[in-house]
Amino acid sequence: MLILHHLEPLHWAVAGAGVAAITLALLFIANRRLGISTGLEDVCSFVMPAPYFARDAVRSARHWRMPFIGGLVLGGFVSAVLGGGFSPTWDLGMFDQVIGFGPAGKLAWMFAGGLFIGFGTRLAGGCTSGHGIFGLSNLEFPSLVSTASFMAAGILTTQIVYRVIF
C-alpha cells in the first residue's frame, strides 16, 4: 500500500515497462538522455553565477529538462487528484511509527538528506535515472560504479537507521 491515499501500487513489471517507454521515447523522438538530477543544476543556473552552472551541458539542456521536471511535479499532482484528492500531508509511513519526529524534525531530516542528494548526485554525475536506468542500459562503466555505490550506501544507511539506531 502506498502512503498516498493508501492506494495499491502498480505491478512492478508495468511500472518498469512505463519507465523504459518514457526513457526510450525521449531518446528516439528527441535525442535526449534521461537524467533528472542535472535538473537541480538547471534551477541553480538561474540564480548562481558560478562557472559550473554556466557549462554548455547545462545551458543547452535547460529548455527541455525544466518542462520535464515541471511535468514530474504535475504528474504527482494528477496522481493525487485522481487517487482521492489533493490534500497536503505530513504522513511519512514507517518513519512516523518507528522514528516519530514531528513536523519540524521531519523538515530538518529531509533538508539534511536533500543536501546529501544534491551534492552526491552532482559529484557522481547522475542519479537513479541517469546512471541507474540510462547509464546501466547503455552499458556505461561509470554508471555501474555509481549505481553499485549508491545502492550499497542506501542499504547500509537504512539498515543502520532502522535496525541499529531506532
Binding site: 502506498l2 543547452s60 536533500g114 554525475g125 561509470p142 537504512t158
Partner: protein, 148 residues
C-alpha cells in the same frame, strides 16, 4: 516541443507516484530487503531499456531523421564518492531526485525541505567545483553560451 517534454514528465511522474518509487515505505523496504517492488521496477526498466537503446543506436537516427548522439558520462573518483553520498541521502529522504519533484506534486509537505536541501547541495557543489576538481579528478569545465 516544451509541451511534449511536459507530457513525458507528467506520465513519468504519475508512474513514479503510483508504483512505490516515490514512496518512503517502499524505498526503505528495498534497502531492508523486505520488499521486492523497487528491484522489480528498476530491473524491468533496465532489461527493456538496454535492448531499446541498442536498437535505436543501430538505427542511428531519431524518429525525425536527426542523428542519435548520446553524451557519455565521465569516469572519475566522484562516481564512487558521490554515489555513496547520494545513497545516504536517498535512504534518509526515501526519495531520489525524480521522486522529490513527484512528492512535492502529491502534496507531501516535507518533500519541499528535501527539494530545498537538494538544491542547496547542488549549489554548494557548483560553488566549490574548482576546489574539489583535483581531489576527485573531475573533468575541466566547458563554459560557453550553449545552443539553447
Amino acid at each position: 516541443m516544451a509541451l511534449l517534454y511536459l507530457l513525458f514528465g507528467v506520465i513519468f511522474g504519475f508512474i513514479l507516484s503510483r508504483s512505490g518509487a516515490a514512496d518512503y515505505n517502499f524505498i526503505q523496504g528495498m534497502f531492508l530487503f523486505t520488499n521486492v517492488q523497487l528491484y522489480g521496477i528498476i530491473g524491468t526498466a533496465v532489461a527493456l531499456t538496454a535492448p531499446g537503446i541498442w536498437l535505436i543506436k543501430r538505427h542511428g537516427r531519431t524518429l525525425f531523421g536527426r542523428p542519435i548522439r548520446i553524451e557519455l558520462k565521465p569516469q572519475h573518483r566522484g562516481n564512487i564518492a558521490g554515489g555513496v553520498l547520494f545513497g545516504v541521502g536517498w535512504s534518509i529522504c526515501g526519495m531520489c531526485p525524480g521522486p522529490i519533484f513527484v512528492n512535492v506534486g502529491e502534496g507531501k509537505i516535507y518533500a519541499l525541505a528535501a527539494l530545498a536541501g537538494a538544491l542547496a547541495g547542488a549549489g554548494l557543489f557548483g560553488a566549490i567545483y574548482t576546489r574539489v576538481q583535483g581531489l576527485f579528478r573531475l573533468p575541466r569545465l566547458v563554459v560557453g553560451t550553449g545552443d539553447g
